[in-house]
């Protein structure tokens, strides 16, 4: 994060230009010239980013505080209000969606972390076949979610699905996987874990291969067993990498949309209605701009807070680990 913030190429000449702002000619003007060139080059990018990313985000924040009506001349903001957020907090549907999203995020991220780390540990021991196995592992991750969701849809299909057939053969009765709340949620989690565990595995593996070998040798000399080595040596050193993986996963899982959109449309009932699905339905199906924007804004805010809290907790742990 830090490096990113100080990275923009225009920063050094910029600062220099500010420092030598009063002097005319000489190195100052050359620097200004360079800064100008820099701005000229980055200008189009900044404009596009501003127009397609920053402006829409800010506009949706503004919309979330308004009562909007669509007219022939476009959006008409009838009044500014905090009522959208009040409605959100009072809505049982929003609370259900929040609960589902949080529950879904916690379970899938945890499972992916455990399985991904296990996979990474195995991959690290592999010799010749590692490249092949890694390529195979990445297949689920490289599939577009809508496509993989369709595939899982076939597996879970209540009439001819593979999973349905399997359960029918083993249990003697065919469950309706996507038609019952608990199994629909579970099925969706499995589809997510199947798809994103490889991502976590690759990130953790990249951390594993960078670890300092000397520490492991020292641990061996000190007579530490494999189990203790993992918990006391490997894991603490992997924390920054795991932190990144978890952060990415929280961000993604919290915004889950495509899986329920393809698999269940939020059903059965409202059992798999995530915040993103609720926001989509409110905004684009019910055409309630204000409340829809409020759902989007609050979701973004919630995930931001979650990530910041996680980072803070993790950072202190990391430094503790380093101190030891």
């Amino acid at each position: 994060m830090k490096t990113l913030e100080s990275a923009p190429p225009e920063a050094p000449p910029n600062r220099a230009a500010a420092a030598g702002g009063k002097s005319r000619g000489g190195p100052g003007s050359a620097r200004r010239q360079r800064a100008r060139t820099g701005w000229a080059y980055t200008g189009p990018t900044l404009f596009v980013v501003g127009a397609v990313t920053i402006f829409p985000i800010l506009f949706s924040v503004v919309l979330s505080f308004t009562s909007v009506r669509m007219t022939y001349d476009g959006f008409r903001i009838e009044s500014f209000t905090t009522g959208n957020y009040a409605a959100l907090l009072q809505s049982a549907e929003w609370r259900e969606a929040l609960l589902f999203t949080v529950f879904y995020t916690v379970v899938t991220v945890f499972a992916e972390l455990v399985l991904g780390t296990l996979a990474a540990l195995i991959l690290e021991r592999l010799g010749a076949g590692r490249g092949w196995i890694m390529a195979l592992l990445l297949v689920p991750w490289s599939l577009i979610t809508v496509v993989s969701a369709q595939l899982w849809g076939y597996i879970y299909d209540a009439s001819y699905g593979l999973a349905t057939w399997f359960f029918d053969a083993v249990l003697g009765h065919a469950p309706v996987i996507l038609g019952t709340p608990s199994s629909a949620v579970g099925g969706m989690m499995i589809a997510d874990i199947w798809k994103t565990t490889p991502f976590v595995a690759i990130i953790v593996l990249s951390g594993l291969v960078m670890l300092d070998r000397d520490v492991f040798e020292a641990a061996e000399i000190d007579g530490l067993g494999a189990w203790s080595t993992f918990w006391r040596v490997t894991l603490p050193q992997l924390r920054p990498v795991i932190g990144i993986a978890v952060l990415f996963r929280i961000l993604q899982a919290f915004g889950i949309f495509d899986l329920p959109f393809v698999l269940t449309q939020g059903g059965p009932g409202t059992a798999t209605q995530s915040l993103a699905i609720l926001g989509y339905k409110t905004l684009f199906q019910n055409l309630n701009m204000g409340p829809g924007a409020a759902i989007a804004t609050s979701t973004a805010l919630l995930v931001l807070v979650c990530c910041l809290l996680f980072l803070r907790a993790f950072r202190s742990q990391v430094s503790e680990g380093e101190l030891r």
């Binding site: 009838e78 209540a158 038609g179 269940t264 409110t282």
Partner: protein, 441 residues
Amino acid sequence: MTLSRRSLLAGTLAGAATTALAGCGSANTNPVAGQSTAIPEKPTTITWWCHRLTDRRNRDLAPLMIDAFERRHPTVKVRLLRSPSDTDTNRTTLTTQIASGSPTPDVYLGDVVWPGQFAHNSLALPLDQFVPKDYWKRYPAALIEACSGEGGVHAFPFFIDQSFLFYRRDLLDKHGLRVPRSWEELADSAARVRDSGDVASGFVWQGSVYEGLTVNFTEFLADAGGSVLGPDGSAVTVAGDAGERALTYLRDLVATGVSPSAVTTYIEQDSLDAFLNGSSLFLRNWAYAWAAANAEGAKTAGRVGVVPRPGFEGRDGAHSGLGGWSAFINPHTEKLGASLAFARFLAGDGGQEALLRESSYIPALSAALDSPLARRLNSPVIDNARKLELVPRPSSTPYYPKVSKALYTRANSAIGGSASVRASLSAMETEVRSALKGAVL
């Protein structure tokens, strides 16, 4: 030249605020003011947004309609824009496009439940100003009601869709059963044939979490003598005795295994597949299933019968959900005259005759159903079309999607058994009531 992050942010914020304020205060003026309503004399091209419709030979119907129109009006060319086949995606794409002020498409084919919401959100042109007062009388009243929203009628009816009960004639004959005259009889017959092992399930319909379940539920509700809203359109009456009878029946179908429990995930195609591959005795579906069931190569070809949906014992039957598609005009069209001509053609004598001749859709124009051509077709679907009592969904409210969602999510829970019938009905009632008030969440 020193453009800091802060000034960038301030600039963007100011931009956002200006846009927000610019939106304030402008009136909802007539978007087509000053445009001629006459058919243009100079060559004009308009665009028509239409999903894939099929003719009798399973070819695309839209080009045939366009040809028929262009022959009558040589100055107007119609360019076809293919819309997504999924209704909700179709609507989302359209609303985004029209709300942003795009003049394309000029004319779009839209679902019969859209007008209430589209009128409220200025996504369709009000049409009463362009046609004589008695123009709409030529269509079924329930259909025109469905085409209306704030400010009158907003769509020219193109075709209607009706639901029927399809049955396996061969299997009923084999077991010495008659075509059921009530839902209770249907459940008994279905259970008998299923127990014999001739079919895996008795009766399939659409119970997934989507608009189709709203249709199924409102049909059974009408069968039981109820309705979602009272006659004045504001009282919510869904949770009465009729609601309980309807929902209990549907739930029992699943609980007793007459319908497979997978029916709670079925949309039209799933139920049709189950019927076509021979695993179900009865099917509730739209009219198009008749052609599909008798298509060459279908297992069921020549073995299927179709009747109006029965009713509950002691009550009238023959209710059919009102479905169908209509031609809307984009309020931002820059070719009003040509667009009106095309939309009116689709709804008028010429278009309706072409529709009847080329496809198996049911014409919206009442007169077309009585025409000699209609009689010559000898189709049980067309012959029955006028006998059915159409059950509209409460779609004239601008908040219809929310109303429908309350119906289908709660009905789905009750049918699947994860909530009781009573609890589901009372939740339905609460949610429909708050939706009608405009409560958005």
